[in-house]
């Protein structure tokens, strides 16, 4: 569950547990939505979600379909047409 008003991000568990991919996502996001925990796992920084600039760098940095950006105000997803868990 997100505290953000406008944006949510879903990341597959396989990506979240992959230190290398977690590091890559942390590096590419221009607004620091991703961070790594001490054990290298991916964390989503809730307070930065609404800063998302929809640049899709995270989507392109991870295997296809494993990262989704959801626009909470319209229900649309990035990449376009991606299915959202539970939705």
């Amino acid at each position: 569950m997100t505290d953000a008003l406008f944006i949510d991000v879903e990341v597959d568990a396989s990506v979240a547990q992959d230190r290398e991919l977690a590091a890559k996502l942390t590096e590419v996001c221009p607004v620091d939505i991703f961070a790594q925990s001490d054990d290298g796992a991916l964390e989503i920084v809730q307070e930065n979600l609404d800063e998302c600039v929809l640049c899709e760098l995270c989507i392109n940095a991870a295997p296809p379909g494993t990262v989704k950006v959801i626009k909470l105000y319209s229900g649309e997803t990035l990449p376009a047409g991606a299915a959202v868990a539970g939705g």
Partner: protein, 424 residues
Amino acid sequence: MRFFEYESRAIVAKAGIPITKQGFAKTPEEARRIAEQIGGPVVIKSQVLSGGRMKAGGVKFADTPDEAAGHAERILELEIGGHMPRGVLVDDRADVKHEYYAGVVWDGIRKLPVILFSDMGGIDIEEVAENHPDHVARAHFSTLRPFSDWQAKQLISSLGVTGSALNRLTPILARLARLFLSYDMTLAEINPLGELTDGAFVALDAHMDMENEARPRQKELLHELGVGDEETRQAREPTPFELAGEQVDAMDHRGVAGNVTEFDGNLGLVIGAGGGSLTLFDAVRAQGGKPANYCEIGGNPSVRKACGLAKLVLQKPGVERIAVMMSIVSNTRVDIVARGVIKACVELGHDPAEKIAIFRIPGAWEEEGFKILERYGIEYADRSVSLHEAARRAVEKIQGGNGAGAEGDQFRQTTAEIGSETDV
């Protein structure tokens, strides 16, 4: 930024324009010492960034160093226009035969400096221009070509000044024009420019204003004058609201969301874009609205920064609603600003549709921005609605007192609905 008189005199002297013997004192004892060094009658002048010094008792004449110290003691305690003096200027009481005026000011309409000269100095140049227009000569000049002595001479002689006075005044006026350009001034004024009984000319008072944005490249001059980076030199001290605006702007590096100025109206403004702030502020006033603030937002601020500014404005006592308006943006994203102002409303427990009187920011990412605004039921306008029309709608809502809910619904329009209301 404004300079104190003692600094202005130093700038004038640095440019090669003669000034009277004088010194800056922070204590009565210093004033006494300077008066002793001058060795004759002196004038003690309060150093405040405020007009009306003479009327307020901030200018006194002294014949002896003791008298100078006494006057300095009283003037140093005297508040003028809400300002305590930084010190006093102890100035030689020159034997003046005639007073002239010399000034250069930036003409924002022509976008050129204009040089002014009058043979009636010592009084406001505006008053002379109004009552004795034949005693004021003026000419615009280029900021690209060097200012020549000939230009100065032509101006002075147009008032009938001839002979030795013309020859002596010419370099003074030319140097004033050159210092205006080289120090990025918006105003450089010597009033009065005194002609002494021996025929010499000296600057008896000077007033300099420098373009605030030029501070970084005029560091050397400011350092010489002892002006610190922390000195804002604005007309008044910033209010707590304005200081909070500076903090919002400083919260991250992205974009601008600050330059806040406080007013006492009921319509909060989140405005900006390349001069758009000034236009929008004027537009609100022209429509009979009462702005609660001025501000500038642009350069693609973060959501957090836009939110911070909107929160600050929304929390200002007396603010009923905010108007979020910019001219057409290219490097600021509409959706990011929309997120920021909506977030501010939500986090403060307000309905964004009620609190945001109008959102008129067309430009980059507007489609995404409009989706967000529609989701929250906020009236928005695209580029087919002029800044003045947007201001009118915002003012109408405040004056009509329409709130949220059913009443507010009548103001909500989609882009398609307002698309035909082109207003240039």
